[in-house]
């Protein structure tokens, strides 16, 4: 991730007497590092609101005209009431300052498309997207790393060529096309997958805890709802998994190949260590950092919303919400989404940077 924030430590061997001191120093440096990153993150988020606000207001078009009906927009009293209700009767700097003031109280304003607080809309949309993104990234990590390892270990052989071709297809196929295809085959033709949406019609949603239906159904002990929610999750998750698997397979193969040629791997093999020990103790650990970077980026991309996949599977997630907001000039909703996406990327960057230190002792933060 942010490579300037991590650096290899000096390769000195610690003496036993210095271990405790070094541990304390390392702990306090991590705290300092996190504090600094959080401050930077806050500044960046304000920057994101400013950029989003400016860009949204630069778009030609009047949000009042877009939000009101044809006759209502011709009625000065209705237009005046709408502008007053959403603060559009104020100057742009005043509107922006009002937004920041509300934001300080964690109030993202009210969407003029849904007539509800943007925070409520996001609280509904984010778990829906999170559910797909999490399932897709977990599947993709498992499958992508396995295929990448197989491909690297069997470099140049037929199986390697086939896996590379498959991963290329995964990346190259447009996700909307894959989505339509799998929906058509598994739902429409074969009838083994459920239709669109998060649950079958008439199936009540589980009690809200996380907003992720599969998890909430499990927490509530609703087996039937869990199976239904998981079945609805399968196809959209599969589509996103296919793309992410392609990405991770190619990237992990490259990383594994690079490590497999290292002297320490040769030495481990020469010592007669079993293959799985060499892989898990040496190869995987050494290749993990670039793979982790890619996993972070891929997860961020999945969380930012996948408009077309959500649209095809009628999945009421963040992508659909963002698209609707942008197409209707729903300024506060657009800013809310922009802010969330900013938080996602900054948060993932931070987590990945910290994880570097745990994966590779040569890397320290600060």
């Amino acid at each position: 991730m942010s490579q300037d924030s991590v650096r290899p430590d000096t390769a000195e061997s610690p003496s036993p007497s210095s271990t405790l001191t070094r541990g304390r120093r390392s702990h306090s440096s991590l705290v300092r590092y996190l504090a600094r990153r959080l401050i930077i993150t806050a500044v960046l988020l304000v920057g994101i609101t400013l950029v989003t606000f400016t860009l949204t207001n630069l778009v030609p078009g009047d949000p009042v005209a877009a939000a009101l009906g044809q006759r209502a927009a011709d009625d000065p009293a209705i237009v005046a009431q709408f502008r007053a209700q959403y603060g559009l009767d104020k100057s742009l700097p005043e509107q922006y300052w009002a937004y920041l003031t509300r934001l300080a109280h964690l109030n993202l304003g009210t969407s003029w498309q849904t007539h509800r607080p943007v925070a409520q809309d996001l609280a509904r949309a984010i778990p829906a997207t999170m559910e797909i993104a999490l399932s897709a990234i977990v599947m993709a990590i498992i499958v992508g790393l396995v295929l990448g390892a197989v491909s690297a270990y069997r470099r140049g052989r037929i199986s390697d060529q086939v896996l590379r071709l498959i991963s290329l297809l995964g990346i190259s196929l447009p996700t909307f096309w894959t989505a339509i295809l799998v929906f058509y085959i598994f739902y429409y033709k074969l009838g083994i997958a459920p239709g669109s949406g998060r649950l079958s019609p008439g199936m009540p949603a589980p009690p809200h805890v996380t907003g992720m239906y599969t998890l909430d159904a499990l927490l509530a002990g609703q087996g039937e709802t869990f199976v239904d929610a998981a079945a609805h999750l399968a196809l959209p998750s599969l589509v996103l998994t296919l793309y992410t698997v392609g990405l991770l397979t190619r990237f992990s193969r490259m990383s594994f190949l690079e490590v497999l040629d290292k002297d320490f791997v040769r030495a481990a093999r020469a010592k007669g260590l079993p293959g799985h020990t060499v892989f898990f103790r040496y190869v995987l650990r050494a290749a993990a950092i670039p793979i982790l970077t890619m996993v972070g980026l891929a997860f961020g991309s999945l969380l930012s919303g996948t408009v077309l996949v959500e649209s095809i599977f009628s999945w009421p997630g963040l992508g659909s919400y963002a698209y609707q907001a942008a197409s209707k000039l729903d300024l506060l909703a657009v800013m809310g989404v922009g802010l969330f996406v900013g938080v996602v990327y900054l948060g993932i960057n931070l987590v990945v940077d910290v994880l570097y230190g745990f994966i590779d002792p040569r890397v320290k933060v600060g």
Binding site: D62, A72, H115, R116, I142, F183, S200, A231, L235, F313
Partner: protein, 527 residues
């Protein structure tokens, strides 16, 4: 290592398929509840819903829901959109149509069992008018007063023959005033009942609200206290937000019983197991030629306008519109009082168009045709239509540059009268031809074409008379005269009246399209 991971991968894949197979792929009316064949009905559409507060909603999806939850004073029968009939009340009007007296039907109750009273009617209509929400314009200039517990009087400043039809729109739904007031309801801009009304219903309609998610679905259940004239067949109505391509697959597989958002192409390729009700919609797709010479000297020249009207091959445009579509005979669509017969529609005459275009000087010049490219009125692509018009005008020597833009961007120059040529559509706000008088000189849509009130005194006079004449025969004559004059001399060119296609499973009967509320879910039957 390889074997172990292959096994792991296989387990994950198998789990995915098992989960898929475990779930019921179909939601036919008997599959999920297992009670009766009329337990539930699933209707797929593309949501534009923002709210289901009657005083604030004004989007097609919202109208479907509100129509089911709230009764109105008057309504239309499912199979007749020309004559208002009583719902909660009967009415009489004075001779000059400025005073309308409504008498409530005895015994009607809200979902909580409390009676529908004159106070509820007065509150609901005053709230609609006073909140200054999206549909408040419907009651502009109308005063609502209570006469006694079962009688209400509506008084208008000018004669208003369209008022009964206006009161049949779902936005004029009657609410339980006590419930709404208890939850922040007022009759002015301070009203705060919307949040409550988006989570609860407070009407006397055949259904009550169970859940609403503006992004995914609305679930309605039968109102056990309903004692009105309708007989709801389905215990539960599920209205889902589904993209059109998915709607097609859902209705073909029986996962949904009705699909409301299919394009003409999708309708044409539907499986034979699905029935389609194709009727002309009340939407009119038209061209606007700006009459303001400062916007464009050529579109403001009557001879150039005539050339453009003659250059369009109207029947060939219908190829793009699919089933149920017809050439718009005038700005008032068929199905409304005063619609023109086919003999009065505009006709294609390339020779005359070429001659007129050369004479007025537009030949060899470029004009810009603007249109929204992300809105397809009843499935008709305006982009494709604009391209076809461009080719046809080119044949007459008129060069047109296409300027597509998203609706949210293009609506502003359209409303402020800055488009040289605009390609737009008009949906009725209520089932009365007075809707379309907005195209007259000096009226709201007329001004978007730079057509000022004094630009055509004859047509302006017809508009004024049509607005206020109550006698039905005279009204029809006036609207027909107005329609002919508009075809001949206005800066508007009516092009297409697109079809409305409702696809449904054969198990569903009584499927009727309504221009205002699209579909009356309480009127749907089961075979």
């Amino acid at each position: 290592m390889h074997r172990r991971h292959i096994i792991l991968t296989s387990v994950v894949a198998a789990a995915t398929l098992v989960l898929s197979a475990c779930s019921s792929p179909s939601s036919s009316p008997t599959s999920t509840t297992g009670s009766s064949s009329t337990a539930q009905i699933v209707i797929d559409t593309t949501f534009d819903i923002k709210t289901i507060d009657p005083g604030r909603e004004y989007e097609p999806t919202g109208q479907i829901v509100v129509k089911a939850l709230y009764d109105t004073l008057l309504t239309f029968a499912d199979d007749d959109t020309t004559t208002v009939i009583p719902d909660l009340a009967t009415y009489t009007a004075n001779a000059d149509l400025t005073q309308f007296t409504f008498t409530l039907a005895p015994g009607r109750v809200f979902a909580d069992g409390s009676p529908v009273t004159a106070d509820d009617v007065v509150f609901s209509l005053q709230r609609l008018e006073g909140m200054k929400g999206n549909p408040s314009f419907l009651l502009d200039g109308v005063t609502v007063t209570k006469v006694d517990d079962s009688t209400i009087q509506l008084t208008t400043t000018d004669p208003n023959p369209a008022l009964p039809a206006t009161l049949a729109t779902p936005s004029a739904g009657i609410m339980n005033s006590k419930v709404v007031k208890d939850n922040g309801g007022t009759t002015d801009e301070t009203d705060a009942a919307e949040t409550f009304l988006n989570e609860n219903s407070a009407g006397s309609g055949p259904y009550v609200l169970k859940t609403m998610d503006v992004a995914s679905q609305v679930v309605l259940t039968k109102n056990p206290a309903y004692n009105g004239p309708q007989t709801a067949t389905y215990d539960t109505v599920i209205l889902r937000n589904v993209e059109p391509a998915t709607q097609k697959m859902n209705v073909e597989r029986g996962d949904a019983q009705i699909a409301l958002g299919l394009s003409p192409d999708q309708v044409a390729s539907l499986a034979s197991t699905v029935k389609v009700e194709s009727t002309p919609s009340a939407t009119v797709v038209f061209l606007l030629l700006n009459a303001d010479p400062t916007v464009n000297a050529y579109t403001a020249d009557p001879q150039c306008v005539k050339a453009i009207k003659e250059a369009i091959d109207y029947p060939s445009l219908l190829e793009l519109a699919g089933a149920g579509a017809s050439q718009a005979t005038g700005l008032v669509p068929t199905g409304f009082l005063g619609a023109l017969p086919a003999s009065d529609e505009l006709t294609f005459d390339l020779a005359a168009a070429t001659s007129n275009a050369a004479a007025c000087g537009i030949a060899g010049q470029k004009v810009t045709l603007s249109f929204p490219n992300d809105i397809d009125p009843t499935g008709l692509s305006l982009s494709t239509l604009a391209q076809r018009i461009q080719v046809q005008l080119q044949a007459a020597g008129i060069t047109v540059d296409l300027a597509p833009a998203p609706f949210a961007t293009e609506i502003d120059p359209y409303r402020t009268g800055k488009e040289q040529i605009g390609l737009w559509y008009w949906n009725p706000d209520y089932m009365d031809p007075a809707n379309y008088l907005a195209f007259g000189p000096g009226q709201s849509v007329g001004l978007r074409a730079g057509w000022q009130a004094d630009a055509d005194p004859t047509i302006a006079d017809l508009v004024a008379q049509a607005y206020t004449t109550g006698d039905e025969t005279q009204r029809q004559t006036l609207f027909e005269e107005w329609g002919k004059a508009m075809n001949a001399d206005s800066p508007f060119i009516p092009l297409i009246q697109p079809g409305s296609n409702v696809a449904h499973q054969p198990s569903v009967t009584n499927v009727y399209y309504n221009p205002t509320w699209l579909i009356n879910v309480a009127g749907l039957g089961a075979a």
